[in-house]
């Protein structure tokens, strides 16, 4: 039996991230892939696998080249003569495609795989429900005006606030911090950034208790990473090795809405698997890059990963002696919504010592989560030897 091979994240890039106007999504994706290959020191003819999370970043049909960039579109535009494998996992967010790519390399199917996420802006306003009737479980929610994602996340946060310690200013602290980090991140989208707790606490609600600043900003743009078998890399390179990945699996019982389930218990199930697979624990993690499509999701992950107990993320985050930096590139809130690939790239940069002015000293391990604890995504540990 062949020994399982190690997989490292060896290159990455973001295209420009824009918030309005016409946008060439396929061109942005091609640019990001080329830049990621250059960052990895890999040529296109060495790449033998391609993977992406191909769904549009909003409800609606996928149209390749218009609101999505699938493998076929990339192969129409770029020369990858050695491709033998591809993956377009439609669910599990980009985490599923990264996991599949790592498996392809571990098994020996591939040596070098490029993974990307390309985002277009929605043609209308985000989160508006399609007209018509409510089928299946939606028959029990849509008639109440409760179709869109945002009200459900707001209800989840309302529940969280009723059981959590601390105050909403704690989450505001995280929001202010990630915008500060994004201001030091040259690839971040140009966004209106709150600069003080007062500004945060007086900003409008979108769906109480979620404020506008608690919502990530949709962007058009692309990000790409290069995964490679460590055996293809120079022996002295400081590598961000995928130490392990744990996927979120669907809940076994019916729920009014998935995000109203138990964020803590479901997230703990993911993190228990992650720590068991990797041998790491909250106390051995150098940096945490936590999904923040809505700001409270980062708090749910802080608790689920075991950095603190349930309901204690606010006090943990705001403690003067907190040792683990969170969302050092600004996350989706500050950098722009790349559905978690931005978080993954920042973790890889930090662990491989290539984070530039944001570099954390002696960063050996990164915990990265993609998706909320209740929406199918996953969690990773990247580690350097």
């Amino acid at each position: 039996m062949t020994r399982r091979r190690e997989v490292a994240v060896v290159g990455w890039a973001h295209s420009d991230l824009v918030t309005d106007g016409d946008f060439d999504i396929a061109g942005s994706c091609e640019w990001a892939i080329n830049a990621a290959l250059e960052s990895a020191g890999v040529s296109a003819d060495q790449v033998d696998g391609l993977a992406t999370y191909p769904r549009p970043g909003f409800a609606g049909a996928r149209v390749d080249g218009v609101n999505a960039v699938g493998v076929a579109t990339v192969l129409e535009r770029m020369d990858f003569p050695a491709i033998t494998w591809f993956c377009e996992a439609e669910t599990g967010m980009v985490a599923a495609s990264i996991v599949e790519a790592a498996h392809a390399i571990q098994s020996g199917t591939c040596d070098i795989v490029v993974v990307w996420r390309a985002m277009a802006l929605a043609p209308g306003r985000y989160g508006v429900a399609a007209p018509g009737h409510a089928h299946g479980d939606a028959a029990f929610t849509t008639p109440y005006g409760a179709t869109a994602l945002l009200p459900w996340h707001a209800l989840a946060y309302s529940r969280y606030r009723s059981i959590a310690s601390g105050s909403e200013a704690d989450l505001g602290r995280l929001v202010i911090d990630v915008h500060g980090a994004a201001a030091r991140n040259s690839v971040a989208a140009y966004l209106k950034r709150p600069t003080s707790i007062e500004e945060y606490l007086t900003s409008p609600y979108v769906c109480d208790p979620l404020r506008r600043f608690d919502c990530d900003r949709p962007v058009a743009g692309s990000a790409a990473i290069v995964l490679a078998a460590t055996s293809t890399r120079p022996a002295n390179e400081r590598l961000a090795i995928i130490a392990g990945a744990a996927q979120n699996v669907p809940a076994p019982t019916a729920h009014l809405h998935p995000v109203l389930g138990n964020q803590f218990a479901r997230g703990r199930a993911v993190s228990d698997r992650l720590w068991k697979l990797t041998g790491e624990s909250p106390s051995t993690i150098s940096v945490a890059e936590l999904y923040d499509g809505f700001a409270p999701t980062a708090f749910y992950w802080i608790e689920a990963l075991g950095f603190c107990d349930r309901g204690q993320a606010g006090p943990w985050y705001t403690a003067a002696d907190r040792k683990v930096p969170v969302n050092t590139s600004g996350g989706s809130l500050g950098e722009g919504r790349l559905h978690g690939l931005g978080h993954f790239i920042e973790g890889a940069k930090q662990v491989s010592g290539r984070a530039g002015e944001r570099q954390i000293a002696d960063c050996r391990t990164a915990a990265i989560t993609i998706g909320s604890p209740l929406i199918n995504g996953g969690a990773f540990v990247l580690r350097t030897d």
Binding site: R125, G127, V128, A129, P131, G132, H133, A134, H135, G136, D137, A139, F140, T141, T142, P143, Y144, G145, A146, T147, A148, L150, P151, A154, L155, A156, S158, R159, S162, P204, Y205, V206, C207, D208, P209, L210, P252, T253, A254, H255, L256, L260, N262
Partner: protein, 140 residues
Amino acid sequence: MRPGPVIDAVSEPFWRAVATGKLELTYCPTCRLFTHPPRARCGNNCRGDLEWREVSGRGVVWAVTVPRREWVPGFDRAVPFGLFVVELDEQDGLLMPSDCDLETALGLQVGQPVEVCFEAHDGYTLPQFRPVSGPTEVAR
């Protein structure tokens, strides 16, 4: 106009019951657990058939929000309005939604007792929840 429910074979008894002023949910006599939205079989462990059982219609506010932008085009409450989730007395985590006007929503607190009422619409009846009338202690 509200987007009305599409009633199917599994959910039909629910909608038939609410039309007569009763709240009935699917229940597993083996696991002694309710499941909502309704299912034909138990998803808890036993995978056995579920039956319909009437519940009290009493519960507490589990979470509350105020949508301030329109997400359901044509919905018959203008934003901002109230949207809350009720945890029924029968079981932890047994949740049902309700909507209400803004003033009611701003007065709701998590843990506050509520009870079911039935709202007639064109072709269906919708269960809703309202604060229990009369003076009540607000439990938190």
